[in-house]
Amino acid sequence: MRLVLVGTSHHHAPVELRERVALDREHAAALAARLAEGGCEAVCLSTCNRTELYVACADPEAAERTAVAALAELEPEVEKALYRLRDQAAGLHLFRVAAGLDSLVPGEGEILGQVRGAYEAGTTGPLLDRLFRQALHAGRKVRAQTAIAESPASVSSAAAALAEQVFGDLEGKSILLVGAGKISEQAARNLVTRQARIAFVANRTAGRAAGLAEKFGAEPLPLERIGEELAHADLVIASTGAPGFVLDAATVGEAVAHRRGRPLFLVDLAVPRDLDPAINDLDGCYLYDIDDLEAVVAETLVGRRREAEHAEAMVTAEAAKFHEWHASLDVVPAIASLRARAEEIREAELRKADALLGRLDESQRRAVESITAQIVNKLLHLPTVRMKQAAAAADGVVYAEAVRHLFGLGEDER
């Protein structure tokens, strides 16, 4: 069985092209089943950044042609943006994908689940089953043993991670949203996933504040009342279209006096800014604007790339293990024939000596059986190991042929 990969990704195709070959789980499963017809195996991995077809087949040329045709059916233009990989290179590619090393943001977390989903929906057999299980193992290992996935990769997740640096656990912490736009809502959602709750929504337009507040079970507020509720909030996320500051340091200073030392974390996502920068000078107040958050994200991406270097070495080692196993498949029939032939000879010789051995008692006969079996095993151990090693180094087929020739394997059938 040979491994074939045909696909396209964000490295080769723009989003307008990728979206035309993107498949949902149901269609991906159907395509994999179609490609696996005729004794092959197939998995279709389709995410927003890539569509890749992994096919294991005895005839790699035909498998590749079918896979290319299947993607061209979806969008003829994609053919120019396709990459085609085989065997070791195809295996290594999947290992890198599962580890998040081929992603737009190195180490992003979603890809591992997407690879698992594609594997579950695929039509797999011994080869793809092992490939995907080992790739998923490598992906988990990279995330567990490097810091590649620890740091935030977006402004909203950076804001949440910084809030955790102040409060620790965000469970039950109250959020005051200033502005009812999409940006502040997105940032707040990230905090809500960490068990914080949106307590107040303040906006110049009362209707929009009420709409968003209802969605989160929060209290709507006019902008003028922010100062009053500041004493009860732990986090403030501001993103209005106001031309000047919506909240000044004096107002926050008054609120801080009633907070009995409780810290206040403020995020200003608006341009021009909504929150007076002097707020950061107040005791217990931590203010981050969009530039600060973007700088933190840029730095963490540098860190992720650095970790990706360690991860590459781990992934290469894991992929090499798969390659060794895959290559050993070439010599397995020769090894099996050799062992069967040796066993055949051993049994025949024992039968010939039956008259002599008949005088032995049961335990002595068993000892003779055991000794001859051990001799055969010991003689064949080294050739077996060497053939597997040769297979990993791409000489497996030559060695297998040599063994067949030297021991006359398969000649009886000819």
Binding site: G284, Y288, V296
Partner: protein, 262 residues
Amino acid sequence: MAELFFWPALLLYGEAAVGYLGEARRPGTSGRAATWGVRLGWLAQTSLLAVQATRDDGFPWGTWAGSLNLFVWLVVSAYLIWGCRRTFRLLGLAVMPFAAVLLALARAGGGVGAASRSPYSTAFLVLHVGLVLAAFAGFTLAAALSGLYLWQERRLKRREVTILRRPAPSLASLDGLAARTVWFSLPALTLGIAVGVARLVADGDRVDALVAATALTWTVWASYLALRSLRGWTGRRAAYLALAGFLLVVVVRLALPATHFA
């Protein structure tokens, strides 16, 4: 025999101090090596104390240098409760250099060898010296937590871009743990002082400078808890107060003991 354990303990504490310095520069291997240095060093020092205890009839840490040895062990023990957690590793940067220097000082003063006989009973020494030292170890840890709080708070205020790269506990954890440590330590100091005062009165001795400084230390740490509960003094103000309290601990432990132990 005691020397056999002293040198490994000192070397491992020293290794931990250097390791934590490396951890502050680049988190990873050096931090893990430092944590193992603390664990193994603590085991070596525990063995050292055990040898001293079995060799001596009474309380072997009744001298100034001996009590310093026990104090270091208590500080490292308290640190080990949290210090092995990854986010608390940097706390070791505040604790371990201090522990290594004090252990070396204890040896220089003869605190790791055989103790001279004390005129006081073992029970009194265990209660008085043991409780006061345990309380001081707790205050030292609280001060280290407060120091880490101020460092982490400054990074947040300055919006350092590397803030998420170096794992550190949240401000809330540092502040809360410092307070909890003081809540455990202050009653121990109160009891230790009470035992000492009872003895002082019974023997008709005078209050010396160290006793007065210890009382002042008690006042500062009691104020720490009172202001926290009654006036909401948490965060930066509480951290500064803890550092002030720790300065008094240093004075009591290092600058004034000559008269008291004599």
